[in-house]
Every structure is written in structure tokens, then in C-alpha cells.
Amino acid sequence: MNINFKEKLVSAVSTIPLIAGVTMSSSCGVSCPYGLSCSYPGECRRYTDAGGDGICDLGQTSSSSTDTASSSTYDDGSSTSSTDSSSYDPASSAQDQADTSTSLVDTGNTNDSNASAVTDPGSGVDSSLGDNPNYFVIPVSMLLIGLYLFTSFLFTRGILDQQKHRRIWNILLTAGMAGSGITGILLIMIINLSIKTALNPSLTFWHVELSILMVLATVIHLHLYRKPFKNMFRVLFGIKNNWH
């Protein structure tokens, strides 16, 4: 009875990576991963411009739905263009899109503010905090937890031996740690030296993603090596091991 329940639980939990993958791919397809509004060729390889206004549609969708502060910066004398941008609807007609692009070109001030928003991708962590980008924390975490449950299942079934199981997670931890550390050090250097490059948002994005991997892989590492972990407290503080 108990084993049957465990089997059901494990099989239910093993579907988590699938759900996470589906969630992640749909959210990737809808909005800009960096929360930017790029001009051609853009910061990533997903540049699409169906409206023909010279700005990536993915960034416009995310910025119009989430960032109301950026639309308020438009309001510097030209109230008509401000209304246009704040009420931007991705499903609007081609005529509306043509109007928006005309206002961007014709109005000097509006065009300048928009150009600065387009060309300035951020100057490191400090400015990127305000961009509200999507880091897929929950899908990536679910994917990793599901993967761990899957490898644990294989280990309990005897398909994977303990050494291989630990090796897989040690490699993932090392990859996460190395990636997170290298990108983090690069970001510190960029911020300390006030270097502004187009790579800053990408570096921040990958730093966060690899850090999620590192944090979860570390928790798993502590679980895999829980005996030496408990010994650490016994050696340093003389605490007897009463945990079971």
C-alpha cells in the first residue's frame, strides 16, 4: 500500500519537468526575455517586427503590458503620443500601428526618449533592477526539482548507482557555480569600471539562471552528503548527532 502510494507520487512528480518545460516555452514565446524594446537586430535572436515600426514586437508586448512607468516618460509635451503609447494594443489594426510609428518619427522629443529606451540596454545590475525582466525562477526550479526526483527514482530502483547519481549532481553544481561565479565577477568588473555594453542584460540574465541552478544543486548536494554535513557540526561544536 505504502509502496504503491510512493510509486504514484514519484510518477506524478516526474511530470513536473514536462509541465515546467511547457510553461517556460510558452512564456519565452510571448514576451522579450530581457524585458527590452530593441531596434534591429536586437539583443537576442528572436527579433520579430510584424508591425514594421522598427521595434521588436516581443519587447512592445511585454513593455505595454507590464511597464507603465516607461509610458509616463513619453508625456513631455506631446499628450497625443502619450495616449497612443499607453493604450497600445498588440491586436490593434495596421492603421493604429502606422499611427504609432509616425508619431515616433515625427515628434522629436518622443523619438529621442524612445531611442534612448531602445539603445540603452542597461548598465549592469543596478539599472536592470528596474527593468522587471522575466527570469523563469519557478519553471527552472520545478525543472531541477523534477530532475532530482527522477534521478533519485532511478537510484532507488538500482538503475543508477550512488556514485553516478552524486557525480551527475556534482557536475551540475560545478557548472552552476562556475557559470554564476564567472558572470558575477564580470558584472562586478563592468559595474566598478562603469562599462556600458549591450551584453549587460544578457550577463545579468544568465547570472540569475545559473545561480538558480547553483542554489538548487547546492541544496541537493547537502541532501546527498547529509552525513558529512551533520558531522561538520559535531566536529566544530561537539553537537551529538541525534538526527535520523
Binding site: T66, V125, G181, I185, L236
Partner: protein, 110 residues
Amino acid sequence: MVYDMILPIIPFIGGYLLTYSLYKRGVIRKSVHISLWNLILLLAFLISGGAGFILTILLEFGISLPVNQPFLFWHVELGVTLVLVTVFHLHTYWKSTKTMFISPKRRDEH
């Protein structure tokens, strides 16, 4: 904001060299040296990783709090320490680290 690189690096390099030399001279046991640096690694991870995780969650939900900047500062400073102490951790468990990258077949050949 300029991040200090010397403060989270130099004292820890000095501390590691000190405990390593004490262990080599037989003043302290190897287990004490290893456990001490494992504990430092755990604390650096908890502060840096915890602050980073909280910051990411706040970003995801678009929440801006006055503690964001101090969180970010300590996340960065302890993150540098974390990277350094991880290198020490790999040095301590160098034999296990090597087996991670070399397959058992190749190890048997050598």
C-alpha cells in the same frame, strides 16, 4: 555603487593559509580545518544565495523595497567570498573533484 573586492578576498585567503598551515604542523586536526571551511562556505552561500534568491523573487513580482540595495550589496560581497571559498572546497576535496571529471574506466587505466 562600487563594490569592494579586497575585503571579501584577502582575509579569507589569509585565514585559509593559516588553518592549512596549522593542520600541516599538527596543531589542529584535518577534520577541524575542513569543517571550519565548510561552515564558512555554508554561511557565505546562505547570505549570498539567500539575498540573491529574495532579490530575484522581488524582481519577478515587481516589488521595490528600500532593502533591495543593501541586499544587493551583501549579495555581491558575499558572492565573491563564496566563489573563493568554493575554490578552497575543491582544493580540500581534490581527489573527489578529479573523479567527477575522469570516468572510472580511465581511472583504472591510470
